[in-house]
């Protein structure tokens, strides 16, 4: 593993580590502004979709989360430079993704242990 990262870091060092330092920072700024515009448009589309009213709740959720995921990709990929990051960060995030979904699955799985809706309906604290 350590050899592996070592080699990757070594080869990357020449090609990408200096990518932010050089003349291309001007091009980066242009990218940031385009991403900024895309994020604002994405927000408007998300809100617009709310007023469209899909028949199925599943479609509504899928559309909302799909747009949010694209926006998240833009922020993480460009603002957080994840598209040109070192291998170690990717490994770290890969582990996080596994634990994130494990945590979510366990939590939602526990819904089997709750009383059914019909039994809960009348419960409220005055």
């Amino acid at each position: 593993m350590s050899d592996h990262t070592h080699a990757a870091a070594g080869s990357d060092a020449d090609s990408t580590s200096g990518s932010h330092d050089h003349h291309d920072i001007g091009a980066h700024i242009k990218t940031y502004l385009i991403v900024f515009g895309a994020l604002l448009v994405g927000t408007l589309i998300t809100v617009g979709m709310y007023f469209v009213h899909f028949e199925s709740m599943a479609v509504t959720i899928a559309v909302a989360l799909f747009i949010a995921s694209i926006k998240a990709f833009l922020v993480a990929g460009y603002f957080m430079h994840l598209l040109s990051e070192k291998k170690m960060i990717y490994s770290l995030l890969a582990i996080t993704v596994v634990f994130f979904f494990a945590l979510g699955t366990l939590t939602i799985w526990s819904s089997n242990d709750l009383p059914k809706n019909s039994e809960m309906k009348t419960i409220y604290v005055p």
Binding site: S2, T5, H6, A8, A9, G10, D12, A13, S17, H20, D21, I25, G26, Y32, L33, V35, F36, L39, L40, T43, L44, T46, V47, M49, Y50, I61, A64, L65, I67, A68, A72, V75, A76, F79, M80, K86, K87, M88, I89, L92, L93, I95, T96, F99, F100, L103, G104, T107, I108, S110, S111, L114, N117, M120, K121, T122, I123, Y124, V125, P126
Partner: protein, 284 residues
């Protein structure tokens, strides 16, 4: 003692150390917010079907102020782009531009918090009323001729408190019922925005839109307040780097630039959380 790899990349990782550090921290933050998002899904899926407040405990939809939420999203996205532009300005040796972008970022950060406070206050002064007859409505409360003010926690009432204070009747202005497609609400429209008096003995439940009232408010306030604290914390750090901490620009520009990148990574993460939070709590 000099701290190693503050700007030179460490040979084995290819990164300066703070960058590994912030990503480890962000990984833990992903887990923190992940737990809360999972809880949200669990509560949302388990809520009784039907329209709130007609059905007690059902998930309230369209309760939050969407135009304000949309505007706040734009404010946070703007602050995210200005913080990355501030970092880019340092890369181009332009300290003046850096300071300018940081000020815009800070204005956006505190603007976001101000707008959120206004939204919170709207919820703290909004009430759910259930009568023993089964009728349920939302609206605004008037006790002893008093309306609650801005962030006036002392004026948040529930039934137990009213009984304790020996109040015998309240005035309640019900919200106009939103007409759903295909349904007629001819009668409710005429009552809209008219304060009615209710005897305390007729009331089954009365509570403001606060955490104890409903699982929706519980998870909404917990997630958005935690996010708000992240915004506040990020703003304090960015504020420090923009003003007192910026003296490092003269002594060690590379390390200072990296500090801005690391603080920026945190700030983008806060933006990222909001990108998911906004559609989930406001729109779904």
């Amino acid at each position: 003692m000099e701290i190693p790899y503050t700007y030179k990349p460490r040979p084995d990782t290819g990164l300066y150390n703070a960058k590994v550090g912030i990503w480890l921290f962000l990984a833990s933050e992903i887990m923190l917010f992940g737990a809360l998002f999972s809880s949200y899904i669990l509560l949302r899926v388990q809520a009784p079907m039907g329209e709130w407040p007609k059905v007690a405990g059902a998930w309230p939809q369209g309760l939050l102020n969407i135009p304000i939420g949309t505007f706040n999203t734009a404010v946070l996205i703007t602050s995210s782009v200005t913080v990355v532009l501030a970092w880019a300005a340092l890369k181009m040796n332009n300290f003046k531009a850096f300071r300018r972008y940081m000020v815009v970022t800070l204005v956006c950060a505190f603007g976001f918090l101000g707008i959120k406070s206004y939204e919170y206050n709207e919820k703290f002064t909004h009430y759910e009323l259930r009568l023993k007859s089964g009728e349920a409505m939302t609206g605004h409360l008037e006790v002893n001729g008093k309306h609650p003010g801005f962030w006036d926690f002392g004026s948040i009432y529930n039934l137990a408190r009213l009984e304790k204070e020996k109040v015998t009747e309240i005035k309640f202005t019900a919200d106009p019922v939103k007409p759903k497609s295909g349904e007629k609400h001819a009668d409710s429209a005429s009552h809209a925005h008219e304060a009615k008096t209710y005897a305390l003995g007729d009331i089954a439940k009365l509570d403001a839109f606060v955490l104890r009232n409903h699982t929706f408010f519980a998870i909404y306030f917990v997630i958005t307040a935690l996010h708000g604290l992240h915004v506040l914390g990020g703003a304090l750090v960015l504020g420090y780097f923009a003003f007192p901490g910026s003296s490092m620009w003269k002594s060690n520009p590379e390390q200072f630039t990296n500090r801005i990148e690391v603080a920026g990574l945190f700030w983008h993460f806060v933006d990222l959380v909001w990108i998911f939070l906004f559609p989930v709590v406001y729109l779904l």
